[in-house]
Symmetry: C2
């Protein structure tokens, strides 16, 4: 999975702090992550974290964005044979989660959303505004939004068992084997067959 | 859904404290729930909470149990026509989550497991020791454990979208309509058709 490139004009230090924040929120959730801990992980002074972001809420808002954009998903998932769209979507989702940096971003999102109402609001917004329309646009037939929700539910639930709870066997199942197991379900929600 | 009855010899006050703790952990997650807040909700002195449980960890351990037992699930889900086992399991799951008391217990489990490693360990244990074998025993063919995981993933993911994130339309879809939408997926994982 290609990560978003660094934007021009952004400093490396700011990026290092964001990456450290992403890890902290992923490991600890919003409440237990601290400015001090984020600074220590990024090997900078806490005052520098404050200089760039002001407070924990604002770092959190920066971290809480989906680590990929709609065009990337379109290019990777929507283009190509309709008969394998379920497989491509499933592979893309699992690759994002298996990537050390992107996966930490997703883990931070899910973990924080579960315990912190503002993060839940943010993730609901992301799902409602980005993921539901994106997937629903590919669903044939009626109940497109509800079936789009079922796709998200199957994928997020799988991530919860594999990456948060680490339940076996799904936690250590080979990614491609897992994609093959999930794909028929995702395909049926999308195209009804 | 029939709730577990109060065990003989257990005091009403202790039960009230447990119910208040369940709500606190569901609303706030483990980290932000406090003995003081639990006591206030139960309308008792914090010293009484300490008397019964000693500390927050121990109240948490009591609350972190599945709010139903294997016999109940067997009687409700496994008995009856194999062709509708997916529908019965889905209905049972959604009824538990829609129940005010049992649902709060499930929400406490999922919310705390997402942000608190000991709660994740506890929920993983519950899923691995109770839910995977229970469901896997009903799966026909190979990969029974992995397909049991996929059943859990679809159901837990649906609960996450419906009750934690409150994404539409799944958040306000009628329970029976949602069960009918999910049941074919669950049925295919269980029986392959």
């Amino acid at each position: 999975v290609a990560r978003r490139g660094r934007r021009p004009g952004r400093s490396q230090t700011r990026d290092d702090i964001l990456e450290s924040a992403r890890r902290s929120f992923a490991d600890l959730g919003y409440d237990r992550a601290t400015i001090r801990g984020i600074a220590r992980e990024a090997d900078v002074d806490p005052a520098l974290v404050m200089h760039f972001f002001g407070n924990k809420e604002r770092i959190f808002a920066e971290v809480m964005s989906l680590p990929f954009d709609a065009e990337t998903v379109s290019a990777r998932v929507l283009a190509g044979s309709r008969r394998e769209i379920g497989l491509r979507l499933t592979r893309f989702f699992l690759e994002v989660w298996d990537d050390p940096v992107l996966g930490a971003g997703m883990l931070a999102l899910v973990r924080s959303a579960a315990s912190y109402p503002e993060a839940a609001d943010r993730l609901r917004e992301l799902v409602s505004a980005n993921i539901v329309p994106l997937i629903a646009g590919s669903v044939e037939g009626r109940d497109a939004e509800l079936r789009s929700n079922m796709v998200s539910a199957q994928l997020i639930g799988t991530a919860f068992l594999r990456y948060v709870l680490r339940v076996e066997p799904v936690a250590s199942t080979d990614r491609e084997a897992l994609a093959q197991t999930l794909a028929p379900t995702i395909q049926r929600y999308l195209t009804g067959r």
